[in-house]
Symmetry: C2
Subunit: 497 residues, 2 copies
């Protein structure tokens, strides 16, 4: 695009911002539901487009459309409820502990146009109408999507579907727009009118974009979901209890969508003598070849796979395969290797980096009580950390391991696998650096909306000049938290030991 | 300090972090109240120390100690209530819209040691035991305070008082520590063990520190409260109604604490022919000379004052004075000037920057309906924006102005002055850049606690391995929000237009 095309897009988003922000909750929610309905109605067409462009199966993509629609519906309810606005009303208080307190009312307002760099590996759920877009729209922010180069036709068509639904529901022009190409994305991120950036992708690109966002004359928040190796552990008791279930769950989680998920378990820690090698090999070999998303992912995967297979001390459980076809597309079957814990420690520089594709490393450990310390030492921030235990199993070592996982990850899972993120109010999809650029954020779950809001307080303001959610007559019917007069004299009195 | 001294301090904070984080709410709250009690008990001694070091009056500083203690008590109640943990529990749901939903429970956890760069102008409320420290401690984070060079003895003594209270209340060693000097502050900000930074001070230093925080190998959030000129407006009707009250309120707000407040009204927009010049001059001249906080503030104020007085088109209402004494301390009386709006527009490069001290600019406007547009064009982000109106006054122009102020500021005030920030649940003290580095944050009010937390979800985790706030038996008695099974099938159905 020319600079003036980009300028027009930023202008449209800026013009839409106050209109969309002032749209009453039920109308904004109805627009989100309209988008969900439109995506559902267009599912067959969109899934066919997406499957051709990404190599992901139609079954997987249909599920993703459903997830994307459910997410929009969930956010619609959140918008109507209004709890996310965090409305706080302090009544004026002549007896306030520090002299007269004015009437102060605070809520959260949208921060303006959001630029969303979409992901390659979720052409619906983290793309044009995915989590970042849905949460920004729910917050009341117009969205500019930088479409991923891996599925441009799907992005364009999805954009048309979403825009038509938004327009029919009364949303202003400029509520959702698309741009294409890295240069245009970077130029837009530098535009003074953009209020925040969101991103799902590699650590390298995420770091670059986060630096641009922080280095602008007016810095803006940047929410990047970058890389994660998702360490997974099984206790000896769990292996003894459920060897088949463990082996099967692991191979499914590693190989689903050809391992191109940010929550793929990159490491499974098993006790020495676990006896699962033959099972894992059989299960992995049975997985059909799967296309990788695009040529650059295939190249990156080849490099990581060769580095891991070439590391001294690495044993092959299932060698798997990677071939590059005439159109430069990669095709892979799962590669599963194992190393003693000592080898992982010795070769951490090679082995610890994420391998984006169907490869995972089994790490054989001797002593369960040492796992917590080793985990704390080895791993940076992750999206998830998982542990498989026997029914009712409990021990100081296990508690210590869970504590370390919760310090290093955004989600701790017991007896489950990290892939398949539930879209629910309590979900956390984000974790300490480098899992996310901003570890207080999540890109899944209703808390994702909070990324695109800031607080504004109104002091001593007559009802006629107050925004609807702060008025006593509460025309939007949102949740309001009130601090009555007189309370302050008792502050601190709820303390008992 | 030597690098090994700093290392020891970071180690102690790191060791304290999990212990303080796991301290039960009532005990953590009791420790906050103990600090409030200790500060109150030591008030006379601390105020005398502070007044000698800063030149602020004992009356002002006594009030500040009271405010600091009240804030700790308020935060103690917030800790016990537990609503700030944002506990969300999704019941497992076999009928979930996207297949079986696991049990997912999410809450907010402290992000580890916080480094707090304290301010010169609030030796209690934004210093060793001030808002940033109190909110980080309430969140469950140990704090390292970089003491301000303007009041080192007060900082050291306050640190002793706070530490003794925390220790007596059972907080771990390392919960609060002090360091001194800019080099040590920067070195500590780069330490990998620090989880976040907070700061109150100049745009220049804040930008520098924010850049360091963003450029670390592992970036961390940085909450800086930088600069603000707090535009203030009066309608013709307000001036006609309450000329004396307006003039008096303005001069008090400009000159209190020698104008060394981040919320000082830097501009008052009055209608042409307001007739307040003589009143303002009389009131300003009557204000006694006040010491400035430290020599570098005096130098900065001299430079800004001379630049403003030397700008063509600036008329003097009260020239005021600035003298530098033998000990390099500045002493000032209020300077109030006026310009036609056209002059402000023409000389915005000189006139718009903050003058930190008792100087303010009256801007004379012709047309009320033009104010909103001019305000949007002139001002960057601010902490506050205020408007004085007649009782019951309302007009499209006024509504537009309020809307622009809410887009450019964190707090909108009607018929009040921005100085004197109430410490209450609904307060917002933060605003779009450059008022704060992170405009979704506040450094006053209970929402300040949220800056030092991140979300963690537990999936399918047995009660024995869950943290207390997420357990069904809720031993801490915190607020829990539950999403029951079955709900998802109705998501989106609350939408009606």
């Amino acid at each position: 695009m020319t600079p003036s095309d980009l300028d027009l897009i930023a202008s449209r988003a800026t013009a839409a911002a106050p209109v969309w922000a002032a749209t009453a909750p039920r109308r904004r929610a109805a627009a989100l539901v309209a988008v969900a309905d439109a995506l559902t109605a267009a599912s067959a067409e969109l899934v066919a487009l997406g499957s051709a462009e990404t190599g992901l199966s139609e079954q997987r993509l249909s599920g993703e459309v459903a997830r994307t629609a459910v997410q929009l519906r969930l956010f619609a309810d959140v918008v109507v409820d209004g709890g996310y606005l965090d409305v706080r009303i302090d009544d004026s208080d002549p007896n306030f502990a520090l002299g007269v307190r004015p009437d102060v009312r605070r809520y959260l307002v949208p921060i303006g146009p959001v630029l969303n760099f979409s992901a390659s590996n979720f052409p619906f759920a983290f793309s044009v109408a995915g989590g970042d877009t849905a949460s920004a729209l729910a917050a009341g922010c117009p969205v500019i999507v930088k479409a991923h180069s891996g599925h441009p036709r799907l992005s364009s068509r999805t954009g048309e579907v979403v825009r038509a639904a938004l327009t029919a529901a009364g949303a202003p022009e400029g509520t959702l727009q698309l741009i294409y190409g890295q240069d245009d994305g970077v130029a837009m991120l530098k535009d003074a009118r953009i209020g925040a950036g969101s991103f799902t992708g590699s650590i390298r690109v995420g770091q670059l974009l986060a630096g641009i966002a922080a280095g602008r004359p007016k810095p803006i928040p940047f929410f990047g979901e970058l890389g994660s190796v998702n360490p997974t552990f099984a206790t000896a008791a769990a292996v003894a209890d459920r060897p088949g279930e463990l082996a099967e769950g692991y191979v499914v989680s590693v190989s689903g969508s050809a391992g191109q998920l940010c929550t793929k378990p990159g490491f499974l820690f098993l006790p020495v003598g676990h006896g699962l090698v033959a099972r894992l090999a059989t299960l992995a070999v049975a997985v059909a070849e799967h296309r990788l998303l695009h040529p650059s992912i295939a190249r990156g995967y080849r490099e990581r796979r060769e580095a891991i297979l070439g590391t001294p001390g690495v044993s092959v459980i299932a060698e798997g395969s990677l071939r590059i076809d005439d159109e430069d597309q990669g095709w892979a079957t799962p590669t599963i290797v194992s190393v003693p814990l000592a080898t992982l420690l010795a070769h951490r520089d090679t082995l610890l980096d994420e391998a984006f594709g169907p490869l995972s490393i089994v790490v054989e450990y001797d002593e369960e009580p040492a796992l917590a310390t080793v985990t704390a030492e080895l791993f940076e921030g992750n999206l998830t950390g998982s542990v498989h235990i026997a029914t009712g199993e409990d021990s100081p070592a296990l508690r210590e391991l869970v504590a370390v996982l919760s310090a290093h990850a955004g989600r701790v899972i017991v007896n489950g696998w990290p892939t398949g993120v539930a879209v629910t109010p309590a979900m956390q999809h984000g974790g300490p650096w480098p899992a996310t650029t901003n570890d207080s954020s999540t890109s899944v779950g209703t808390a994702a909306i909070g990324r695109f809001l800031r607080g504004v307080a109104y002091q001593n303001t007559p009802a006629a000049l107050l925004p609807e959610p702060l008025r006593d007559d509460n025309p939007w019917g949102v949740v309001q938290h009130r601090s009555p007069a007189g309370e302050s004299l008792a502050w601190g009195s709820r303390v008992r030991t």
